[in-house]
Each structure stands twice: as structure tokens, then as C-alpha cells.
């Protein structure tokens, strides 16, 4: 009996710590008052609406979307062939390449951001947007390679050979047989990459310029000046967006198979 209570307590605490903050921001955003507080100071939807009125949020949201979609797509364009080559051919230094590709996961984001700022933006006169784009692509690349590699692993080589013997070129076999069979993996990699890029803070922290900020950085900056519940409202909206994407992906793809 005590065991049952104990396990219930553990589950309760776990859920509290995982989901609790989420409820806190939802309700903090629903506040009718004008400063960020929990429990909220009365209830209203005004801060959820106010979010859309903030000019800098709109700009940084567009930038973040651009980075998340563009960076992830670029990472996939690079990552799918890379994963294919790594899984199909015995490349010289194959293991080394895998390690290098994984580096952005291993190296702390702050270092990546600082390095890009110090050696790309400052001396080479890169625009901040370009540097951000590069950084986000590089950050997403390891996920793209990993997830796509995993689905390639399940795909037998002889299927491509069968396609070739039926008249396909090697490239034709790739697009007609390999791609359709790993599209679930590619979509999973896209979603994972999108979420990673969209929520990315440390690297983007170093790479921001006049009027160029990703949404998370912009939110931090906003909070430093204005301590109102709109940040909580925005966070809640973003969380709903992520949950929605993952839910749809799980529903239609069995997303969890790939991650």
C-alpha cells in the first residue's frame, strides 16, 4: 500500500515538474493585470492578443521561421546525401566524418556562437542573418544525418540493385526507391530540426544585430525592458504550436518511431 502511494507521489512530482511550468505560463499569460505574475491577477485574453501587436515579435518570428524552415531544409539537402553516402559506401574517414557532423551537438552552443561571431561575422563581414542561417543549418545537420541514417539502415541495398536491373539509373533508383521509403524519416528529421532551430538560444544570442533577432532572443530582450504577461502568452502560443506539430506528425506518421 505504501508502495502504491510512493509511486503515485513520484508520478505526481514528475508531472508537476514537467508540465507545471507549462500551466504556469498559460495562466500567467491570461492575467488581466499588467505585470508578469502567478497566480494571475484576474483573467483576460488581452495579453494573448497583445502579442500580435508587438512589432519586434512579428519581425523576429518571421526571422525564426525563416531560419527554422530554411536552415532545416538546407540541412536536409546536405544531410540526406551525406547519410546515404555514409550508410552505403565505405568512405575513407567515414567515422571521422560522422564525428565532425555530430560536433555541433557536442560542442556547447555558446562556443559555436562565439566562434561564428569572432571568425565569420567580424572579420569576413558576414551579415548577421547569413551567419545565423549558417549556424542554424549546422546545428540541425547532425539531427538530419542521424534520423535519416536510421531509416536508411532499414532499407536493403538490393532494392536499389533490383531497380537498376529493371532499367533505372543509380540516381533514378535513389529517387524512385530510396526516397519514397525514407520520406517518413525525412519528415521526422524536418520536424526535429525545425523545433531545435526554433528554440535555439545560445548560438543566436551571439548572433544578433540591429533589428535582427530570433524570436527567443527577442523575448529575452523584451522582458528586460517590459515585464508584462505578453511574454508568457507568447511562450504558451509557441508551446501550443510545437505540440500541434508533434501531434499531427505522430498521428499521421508515427513520429516516435523515428526519434
Amino acid at each position: 500500500m505504501t508502495q502504491l502511494w510512493l509511486s503515485r507521489l513520484v508520478i505526481f512530482l514528475t508531472l508537476t515538474f514537467l508540465i507545471g511550468p507549462f500551466f504556469i505560463i498559460i495562466f500567467a499569460g491570461l492575467s488581466a493585470g499588467s505585470s508578469l505574475a502567478f497566480p494571475p491577477d484576474g483573467l483576460s485574453l488581452k495579453w494573448y492578443l497583445a502579442v500580435f501587436e508587438v512589432e519586434s515579435f512579428r519581425k523576429s518570428f518571421i526571422l525564426s521561421m525563416f531560419l527554422a524552415v530554411g536552415g532545416t531544409l538546407t540541412a536536409l539537402v546536405l544531410g540526406v546525401p551525406a547519410a546515404y553516402a555514409l550508410s552505403r559506401y565505405k568512405l575513407p574517414f567515414g567515422e571521422t566524418i560522422k564525428l565532425i557532423v555530430a560536433a555541433p551537438i557536442i560542442v556547447p552552443g555558446i562556443i559555436v556562437g562565439l566562434a561564428l561571431l569572432r571568425y565569420l561575422v567580424v572579420p569576413l563581414d558576414f551579415t548577421v542573418t547569413m551567419a545565423l542561417f549558417l549556424a542554424h543549418t549546422a546545428l540541425v545537420l547532425p539531427y538530419a544525418v542521424r534520423v535519416v541514417s536510421a531509416s536508411l539502415q532499414n532499407l536493403r541495398v538490393d532494392m536499389e540493385e533490383a531497380a537498376v536491373l529493371l532499367g533505372c539509373s543509380r540516381l533514378g533508383a535513389f529517387s524512385r526507391v530510396v526516397l519514397p521509403n525514407i520520406q517518413g524519416g525525412i519528415l521526422a528529421a524536418f520536424i526535429l530540426g525545425f523545433v531545435t532551430s526554433f528554440n535555439q538560444v545560445p548560438v543566436s544570442l551571439f548572433l544578433s544585430g540591429p533589428g535582427v533577432r530570433t524570436l527567443p532572443i527577442d523575448m529575452i530582450a523584451y522582458m528586460e525592458i517590459t515585464y508584462d504577461p505578453s511574454v508568457a502568452a507568447l511562450s504558451a502560443l509557441l508551446a501550443f504550436l510545437s505540440i500541434g506539430i508533434v501531434f499531427v506528425a505522430e498521428r499521421f506518421l508515427g513520429f516516435s518511431r523515428y526519434v
Partner: protein, 346 residues
């Protein structure tokens, strides 16, 4: 150049530096069903991949229908290959799997439809055209793989152990189905297997391979009754193979195949051969010149199988069940006679 339909000439096949098949010569006739038979790792798959163009030979040439195709890429050779794993396209229906190659050839759509339906019908899958490969049984997948290759009317159809994933009953069924298809289509087929009974049942001719070489080539009967070498005899079920250690005064002295025991077994007659071999059925038990102790008895339906230990080793015998039964431990007479022996070289 020979007038064979498929001709492999001094073909050397290697993976990197390790040579899998050295200097192979093989001619295959048009419309023939030939089997590559041999133990695991002897180079059957390798040879087949070279014919298909999936692997470039280190040296030598390959002719198909009088044309040197050595440098022709795999997608231009018009060769069909049924993989051991079937290699069906999991994202396509049975129908689309069969249509795959025809679509690439840009065959008109009404012809595709007709040919695919015909192809599916030929292997009895017309009812299952809309199923995905994962929704088909092993035997059905196998037939789908066959249909996918056959519909392309390949010059040569290669089959790499296509029956090995099936259970015994289905294997027999598919075996006769294959023979029927071969008769109907008259397509030249190369069938790879390491199962000698399958090779014997199917093939016009059998190529017995060992370590990348052709150990022996002949009709099923030739190989079954008259293997030339110890390797071939071993593979074709000659379970009693003894060395002719000495021969004088009209007697042969047999020794164990590779034992250094000095014991000899003498049999009447003289032989030039280095080795003599008997099938278990050629050994008679109950009377004869030799004597040994029964080590095991096994009932096998029509026959009873004995393992008898004598001075030069173990002798396997197979006798009709009607004969007198001997028990383990009995000392029995048996006979190895020169008239039923197959002479072999090393």
C-alpha cells in the same frame, strides 16, 4: 568467340584485393536452365552479380547473345535477377512492383496494364494486385519477385537461391512452378543453390563450383552418377570415400580419407583411381568380406541407415527396411565391392 548464348571468358572477380572467382570460363545455351551449385562462399552470388553487371570484373569478358557486355552498365543489360531476399519495393503495390520496369521503358499505358495483369496471372497473384509486399506471404512475395522480372522479358533470368526462405512444401511447389515458367517462356535461366537435390530436380545442366572454380559441369545424371573428384562426390552424397593406399596382386588396399592410421581394408580387384567412393545404398550389410560394429541405426521410412565402424573408419550404409535388423553394438559383415564403387581423383 563461342556460339553460346551467355559466355563467360576468363572471368576474374575480386572484392578489393581478395579474389573470389579466378579465371572462370562458362558457356550457357539459349533457353537452358543451368544451376550454379556449391557450398557457401564458393562464388555463386559473385558470378551472378557479374553477369548482371552489378559488379565489374577485374579481367575477362562477358558475352550475351553474341554481344560483349563487359562494359555495359547493369541497367542496359536486360537481365533479370530474383534476389534471395526478393528485394520488392515496399512502398508499391504488387501491381506497381510489376509495372515498375515497364514504366521506365515508357511502354504505352494500356500495354502496361495488359502485360502486368498477364504477369500477375501467370504466377497466380491477380487477386492480390493491390496488396503491398508486406501483406503477402513468403511464397507470394517470391512469385511477385518472379513476375516482376519475367514481365521485362529479360535475355537471361538469374535466380539467387530464390527458394531458400520457403518451407519445404512450398519449396517443392515453387520448384515445379519455376520449371513450368521456364518451359512456357523459354527464357535462359541461371539458378543458384547450395541444395544438391534442388539442383538435380531443376536443371538441364549443373555447374558444381568450389572455391571460385568449376569443379565439374554436366547433366544432373552425370553429376549424380559419375562425379570425378572427391569434392564432387562428397557434394553429391557419396558418403563413403576412401583412399586407395596401395594396390597389388589383384587387391586394392583402402585407407581412411585423410587419416594417418595404418590400418587397411582390402577389396578384390584393381583400380588406378586415387580414391573410391560408395553411396550408402551401395553398401550391403549382413554378408560380405568385411566386418565392423554397428554404431548407430536410424529408421528413414523406406530404408534403415547404419553407421558401421571398421578398422579404417566409419562406413554409412542404407538398406531396405525389409532386411534383417541389426542393433547398435552388433558385429556385422558388410561389403564394399569394386563393381559398385565410383573411382575419383583428388
Amino acid at each position: 568467340m563461342s556460339d553460346a548464348y551467355v559466355s563467360l571468358q576468363q572471368l576474374t572477380l575480386a572484392y578489393g584485393d581478395s579474389i573470389a572467382v579466378p579465371d572462370l570460363d562458362l558457356d550457357i545455351n539459349e533457353g537452358e536452365l543451368i544451376t550454379l551449385l556449391g557450398p557457401s562462399g564458393c562464388g555463386k552470388t559473385t558470378t551472378m552479380r557479374a553477369i548482371a553487371g552489378l559488379m565489374q570484373p577485374k579481367s575477362g569478358r562477358i558475352f550475351i547473345d553474341g554481344v560483349d557486355v563487359t562494359r555495359v552498365s547493369a541497367n542496359k543489360r536486360q537481365i533479370g535477377l530474383v534476389f534471395q531476399s526478393y528485394a520488392l519495393f515496399p512502398h508499391l503495390s504488387a501491381y506497381e512492383n510489376v509495372a515498375f520496369g515497364l514504366r521506365l521503358r515508357r511502354v504505352a499505358s494500356h500495354q502496361i496494364q495488359q502485360q502486368v495483369n498477364q504477369g500477375l496471372e501467370r504466377v497466380g497473384l491477380q487477386q492480390l494486385a493491390t496488396r503491398k509486399p508486406a501483406e503477402l506471404s513468403g511464397g507470394q512475395q517470391q512469385r511477385l519477385a518472379l513476375a516482376r522480372s519475367l514481365v521485362m522479358q529479360p535475355k537471361v533470368l538469374l535466380l539467387d537461391e530464390p527458394l531458400s526462405n520457403l518451407d519445404a512444401k512450398l519449396r517443392l511447389e515453387m520448384r515445379s512452378e519455376l520449371q513450368r515458367l521456364q518451359r512456357e517462356t523459354a527464357i535462359t535461366m541461371v539458378f543458384v543453390t547450395h541444395d544438391q537435390s534442388e539442383a538435380l530436380a531443376l536443371a538441364d545442366r549443373i555447374v558444381l563450383m568450389s572455391d571460385g572454380h568449376i569443379a565439374q559441369l554436366g547433366t544432373a545424371e552425370e553429376l549424380y552418377n559419375a562425379p570425378d573428384t572427391v569434392f564432387a562426390a562428397d557434394f553429391m552424397g557419396f558418403e563413403n570415400i576412401f583412399k586407395v593406399a596401395d594396390e597389388r596382386d589383384g587387391l586394392c588396399y583402402l585407407a581412411g580419407r585423410d587419416s594417418d592410421v595404418s590400418a587397411r581394408l582390402e577389396i578384390a580387384g584393381s583400380s588406378e583411381a586415387g580414391y573410391l567412393a560408395w553411396r550408402p545404398a551401395a553398401v550391403s550389410v549382413g554378408q560380405g568380406q568385411h566386418r565392423g560394429e554397428v554404431r548407430s541405426v536410424a529408421f528413414a521410412g523406406e530404408t534403415r541407415e547404419y553407421v558401421i565402424e571398421c578398422t579404417i573408419g566409419f562406413v554409412k550404409a542404407q538398406v531396405p527396411v525389409g532386411n534383417r535388423v541389426h542393433a547398435v553394438g552388433d558385429v556385422v559383415d558388410f561389403e564394399l565391392s569394386l563393381s559398385t564403387a565410383r573411382p575419383l581423383r583428388d
